[in-house]
């Protein structure tokens, strides 16, 4: 059963939504304030356009009354009308330009703000956030906002135009004005209602299209299974259902269009009929001139678009407001990990330090959620230059150790030190530049090999690149790539094997010569026959450098000076591999579970 809100709860919720909305509008106002000069210019252009545009029918009327009905000066009026044509043409172009340019600029700046903010948010945020959600903030939500901003100057001049035209009509003939204008507010109302109703309908169509896409997608990726069992008909039936659903939803949208759009077209025509009927009689009675009648006709056509647009902007504004609220939500999220107010410096050789890269975990307590500690009372001293393998069953917190050192997360209690300085007292950049990481899932960028390796040190020279690549055992195969170091790799580039990717990631980790190297088992994604090559590269880069290896494969453990066994959120044993293997049953169990498939083999 749905929970029923009390009045007080409803009130609080509404208040909250209201405050969110006003925050969203505040964000928009702040953005627009920076562009106010150009927006003002746009408004001035729009208003002048409206003025000149409104003058055209007046001149037409004069031309007819004086130039055609009488023997007055016709050419004069014709020249004036043509001149107004030049002006309205230029101004309408400029209005468009300013409106679109400014709205795109606002969108561009907001997208940059959003990206910069998201990139800076702590890893804890990203672990929970969905990429798709963030993407749609920066794409479709921004599009809604852009679509709204572009309408602002246009709407402004439309409003002016409506007011001016209405005034002129009433001034010319109040009775006829009333007849002509009565149907027009309905244009506005219909346009607004149409916009509100067609939006959910087109979203429903999109949702159905997405479902069809997922049937196609699974049918293509699962084609082996389908063909293997001759299940084509099953998938075809699924597809037919989705195609029928799309048909149904699009026809619903078509019905909405058919019940609004012809009406929106017809309403102003009713005004025109009224003008001809009532106005015609008034001309016959001598109350107005025939020129007035023609002018009325032209004026009415001038009102159609502005009224439709104003109807739409209400709906656009509602959607933009919702988008603004969502964007504001992201922008107002503060990173929980940030630089300290008074940062300290790491000791350096220049400052008299002897060995660098000492890491210390001191009574560290940590859990991703408070109820479930991942590490508790975790204390570990790693000397500069020492290599440590961390071993544990899945979920024992192996990777968390590295995350705390990198300050992806802060400890709940206890401290992490690098060369005697609490990591929380260091600038993030200073800390992280001293730590080279190879992640378990090697993430490479869609870029050249050179840029991938030089990621941590964009200014690196070619010889630096090659030195790092040689150490990582990557230089040889890079030389065999089609464009060597300039080969573009990644999703849209040359595809590398798991082992090759790992070695590039290792080169990336060591190019800046960090004090500490963290290898989140660099061999786990690699074909067993290629494992030894990586292990060789790892052995080379580890020598003389503090290294923390998060080990998933037994062969990797052997590379480390000492092994730490994590069990039950804390250090269960510590020693060399031989010592632990000889004395500790739990260690042997964990090793065995890590090597499950091979145990079966024996």
């Amino acid at each position: 059963m749905a929970t029923i809100e009390t009045d007080a709860e409803v009130a609080t919720r509404l208040e909250f939504e209201q405050s969110q909305r006003s925050e969203g509008w505040k964000l928009l106002r702040g953005m627009l304030r920076e562009q106010r000069r150009n927006l003002l210019l746009g408004a001035v252009i729009g208003i002048s356009w409206a003025g000149f545009k409104t003058a055209v029918p007046q001149m037409t009327k004069n031309a007819i009354n004086q130039g055609i009905e009488q023997d007055g000066p016709l050419v004069k009026w014709v020249v004036i009308i043509a001149g107004l044509g030049v002006l309205t043409g230029l101004l309408s172009g400029m209005r468009r330009y300013v409106a679109f340019r400014e709205s795109r600029w606002a969108e561009t700046l907001l997208r940059e703000r959003l990206f910069a903010h998201v990139i800076g948010l702590n890893v804890g945020y990203h672990d929970k956030a969905q990429t798709g959600q963030l993407m749609s903030r920066a794409s479709s939500d921004l599009m809604q906002i852009q679509g709204f901003i572009v309408m602002i100057p246009i709407t402004l001049s439309n409003v002016i135009q409506i007011i001016a035209v209405t005034a002129i009509l009433f001034y010319t003939d109040p009775v006829l004005a009333l007849v002509a204008l009565v149907p027009l507010p309905f244009v506005n109302i219909s346009a607004r209602r149409f916009s509100n109703r067609i939006h959910p309908a087109s979203i429903a169509v999109q949702a159905e299209q997405a479902q069809l896409a997922s049937v196609v997608e699974e049918s293509v990726s699962g084609v082996r299974v389908i063909k293997g069992f001759g299940a084509e008909q099953v998938q075809f039936d699924k597809l037919r259902k989705e195609a029928d659903d799309i048909f149904g939803e699009t026809m619903k949208a078509a019905k909405i269009r058919s019940s609004f759009l012809p009406a929106i077209d017809v309403l102003p025509a009713l005004g025109l009929v009224g003008v001809l009927g009532v106005g015609g009689h008034r001309v016959l009675n001598g109350q107005i001139t025939i020129g007035d009648l023609v002018a009325f006709n032209v004026y009415l056509t001038l009102l159609i678009w502005p009224l439709r647009n104003i109807g739409m902007i209400v709906a656009l504004g509602q959607r933009a407001a919702a988008a603004l609220v969502r964007i504001h939500e992201v922008l107002s999220t503060e990173s929980t990990i940030s630089d300290p107010v008074n940062p300290q410096q790491l000791p350096s050789v220049a400052a008299g330090a002897t060995t660098l890269g000492a890491v210390k975990f001191d009574h560290v307590q940590f859990g991703y959620s408070p109820e479930q500690p991942v590490l508790s009372n975790f204390t570990l001293d790693i000397a500069g230059g020492e290599s440590i393998a961390i071993v544990g069953a899945t979920g024992s917190g192996k990777s968390t150790v590295a995350r705390l050192l990198l300050r992806f997360y802060d400890t709940n209690s206890g401290h992490v030190f690098l060369d005697g300085v609490d990591v929380r007292k260091l600038k993030l950049r200073d800390l992280r530049q001293q730590i080279g990481v190879v992640f378990e899932d090697t993430v490479l960028f869609n870029d050249t090999v050179a840029h991938n390796i030089a990621f941590a040190k964009p200014a690196a020279r070619q010889q630096d690149l090659e030195r790092a690549a040689k150490l990582a055992g990557a230089h040889d195969f890079i030389g065999e790539l089609p464009h060597g170091y300039e080969t573009v790799i990644g999703e849209r580039g040359f595809s590398l094997s798991g082992g090759q990717r790992q070695r590039i990631a290792i080169a990336r980790a060591i190019i800046a010569d960090p004090r500490v190297l963290v290898l989140d088992d660099a061999t786990s994604a690699v074909d067993p026959s290629k494992e030894s090559e990586i292990r060789e590269a790892m052995r080379t880069v580890m020598s003389g450098r503090t290294t923390i290896v998060i080990a998933h494969r037994p062969g990797t453990i052997a590379l480390a000076d000492r092994v730490v066994l994590l069990d039950g959120a804390t250090i269960a044993a510590i020693g060399t591999h031989e010592q632990l293997a000889a004395t500790n049953t739990r260690y042997r169990e964990v090793l065995a579970s890590m090597d499950q498939p091979k145990k079966v083999a024996n």
């Binding site: 920066a138 997922s214 049918s219």
Partner: protein, 596 residues
């Protein structure tokens, strides 16, 4: 709001002949619902006539009514005007329904036809065409036509008719003023053509940069851990800003193009009515035309210019729809390579699976994936295929299940060439279990039934039981009726593999072709999968593409496939004794298992 329609690249532009063929095929596909289509056409004609009749009626009202001081004529024209408005409303509503219905019915037929044809294709087709491209054909390409179907088609028809009809009406009213209007027309036509061309180019740039910007965005978000770990936030931001500014510039450029165009269009409209009044006024004085005609012309001038604009903007939409259609028709025309022989017979219930002198190439001109391979597997025998990656062992396994047909040589079962066997019997005799258990959206039971649509619940339960997985699946909240969620994300890799094995058990084939997983499964289900596999294999002929020593050791025979050929063949002991490639491979496997 301004819209260039779909952008169309130069290579996508269709020649006249191509366009004609496509239009012909479209009409043929639309023939089942041609009545709806004709109704749509009829509605377009009526509404267009209504739109043009209105100014003519206004003219009548002014000339015959007001200027002639004839109240009756004035009232007459008011009534006529009202009737025309009512007519255009009624037919306008019907128009939307009929035209949209026609278009959507066409898209539906197209979706079904393309999908069906895609499914009839052989595996080779799916190897050649990337999954993403095939999905795009069925989604983006068809959806790109939706715009045309919903608005474009309608606009296209009414704009075309409007243009023709209004020239006719104008000529009837006054040839002199029509001539004047025609003088302004070239400005609009030329401007529209140039705009259409420039804005298409600008749009393509925008589209490309939007894509680049989105990828930069996505890359930034998905790689945020690496970026932060290496403290490269500032550099990444700078890179993103560059792509973002480039996008802005392309937007700015495309707005600038439209600025000039719309300025010119607006100017031409006003300028044309100035000319109408000027020259028209002069003609009125001469007594050649009436004032009502002049007024009608100033009202009609937009019915002449607007269609030109609309048509030029639709040009791109129509072109890109044509390009999409020609790609879709290419799929409809593709002949399935592995198809049932017209005189196909049922394969025998059991027999020797024999590969005889088979050669195979994935694409013409490429190195052969298999070169004159012969091998045979007796009923109940277990054959392991080993060898380096890309040497052809998977290809051989696939040919043995007729995923492909050999280029030369034959694969036969019980003496019957597989190409002569019926597809139904083939799938009952030989089942392939791929490396990873692939799941479809739906319940576990739905996923099992893929293997045998007619299977009863009891049969499915029996199949699950046959691989001893009943207990495991019973742990799920709804047992076998548990939704697997998107792509089976609710199930672990091992559980997905269990589903794949249960599917095979449901078919109960004589021959099992297994592609062993290279990576490790979750330790929890690993043992269960092993056990299920063991039970499934017992009593059946098995061909396994092996990556593990344990699997190989259990096989009756081992074939080492190297460089598209059978390099070694024999039992484990024989091949070890031979001390050749297999012995080296077995040795490498052995060492990688030992710590240190």
């Amino acid at each position: 709001m301004w819209n260039t329609g779909g952008g169309v690249t130069d290579e996508d532009r269709l020649s006249r002949a191509q366009a004609r063929t496509i239009i012909g095929r479209v009409f043929k596909m639309a023939s089942p619902f041609r009545k709806t289509m004709y109704m749509g056409f009829a509605c377009v004609i009526v509404t267009t006539c209504c739109a043009l009749a209105a100014p003519v009626i206004v003219r009548h009202g002014i000339d015959a009514g007001i200027r002639a001081k004839n109240t009756q004529a004035l009232n007459q024209s008011v009534v006529m005007y009202l009737a025309v408005v009512a007519l255009s409303y009624i037919f306008g509503r019907m128009l939307f329904l009929y035209v949209n219905r026609t278009g959507e019915m066409f898209l539906r037929v197209l979706r079904l036809a393309v999908f069906r044809q895609m499914q009839r294709q052989s595996m080779a087709f799916f190897d050649r065409n990337k999954a993403g491209v095939l999905v795009a054909r069925m989604t983006a390409d068809i959806e790109s036509m939706a715009e045309l179907v919903q608005f474009g088609l309608l606009q296209f028809l009414s704009a075309g008719l409007m243009l023709v009809f209004s020239i006719v009406v104008l000529l009837i009213l006054s040839w002199q003023l029509t001539l004047v209007a025609m003088c302004v027309m070239p400005i609009i036509v030329l401007a529209s053509i140039k705009f259409q061309h420039d804005s298409n180019k600008a749009y393509l740039t925008v589209r490309e940069r939007v894509g680049a910007n989105l990828s930069a965005l996505q890359e930034g978000i998905t790689t945020v851990r690496v970026i932060q770990a290496y403290a490269q936030e500032e550099e990444t931001k700078a890179k993103f800003f560059t792509s973002n500014r480039a996008l802005f510039q392309s937007h700015e450029r495309s707005v600038r193009i439209s600025t000039w165009y719309f300025a010119l269009v607006e100017f031409s409209g006003v300028f044309a009515s100035a000319l109408m009044i000027g020259i028209g006024g002069w003609l009125v004085h001469r007594g050649d035309v009436t004032l009502g005609t002049v007024v009608a012309f100033t009202l009609l001038i937009s019915s002449l210019f607007d269609p030109v604009q609309q048509l030029s903007q639709l040009y791109n939409t129509v072109q890109s729809a044509g390009a999409a259609l020609s790609k879709l028709f290419a799929i409809l025309d593709a002949k399935p390579e592995v198809d049932e022989h017209p005189a196909a017979i049922t394969l025998p219930a059991s027999g020797v699976l024999k590969v005889d002198n088979v050669s195979f190439t994935y694409a013409t001109g490429e190195h052969p994936a298999l070169n004159a391979v012969s091998i045979s597997v007796a009923p109940g025998e277990k054959l392991a295929l080993v060898g380096p990656t890309g040497a052809g062992k998977s290809t051989l396994a696939k040919l043995m299940a007729r995923m492909y047909d050999p280029v030369s040589g034959t694969v036969s079962y019980g003496g019957v060439d597989l190409t002569m066997g019926s597809m139904d019997s083939l799938r009952q005799r030989i089942v392939v279990v791929p490396q990873e258990g692939f799941l479809f959206n739906g319940t576990i039971r739905d996923n099992l039934r893929i293997a045998k649509i007619t299977a009863t619940d009891a049969e499915i339960d029996a199949a699950v039981d046959a691989i001893s997985a009943t207990e495991h699946f019973a742990q799920f909240p709804d047992g076998l009726d548990t939704e697997v969620r998107e792509r089976g994300s609710r199930l672990s890799a091992g559980e997905r593999q269990l589903v794949a094995l249960a599917r095979a058990a449901l078919v109960d084939p004589a021959v099992l072709v297994l592609d062993e997983a290279t990576s490790n499964l979750d330790p929890g289900t690993e043992a269960e999968v092993e056990r299920a596999l063991e039970r499934l294999m017992s009593g059946r002929t098995v061909i396994v593409v092996a990556h593990r020593l344990s699997t190989v050791q259990r096989a009756d025979h081992i074939a080492v496939i190297d460089a598209a050929q059978v390099a070694e063949y024999g039992t484990h002991t024989e091949l070890i004794a031979k001390n050749g490639r297999y012995a080296a491979l077995a040795n490498a496997w052995q060492t990688s298992q030992i710590v240190n």
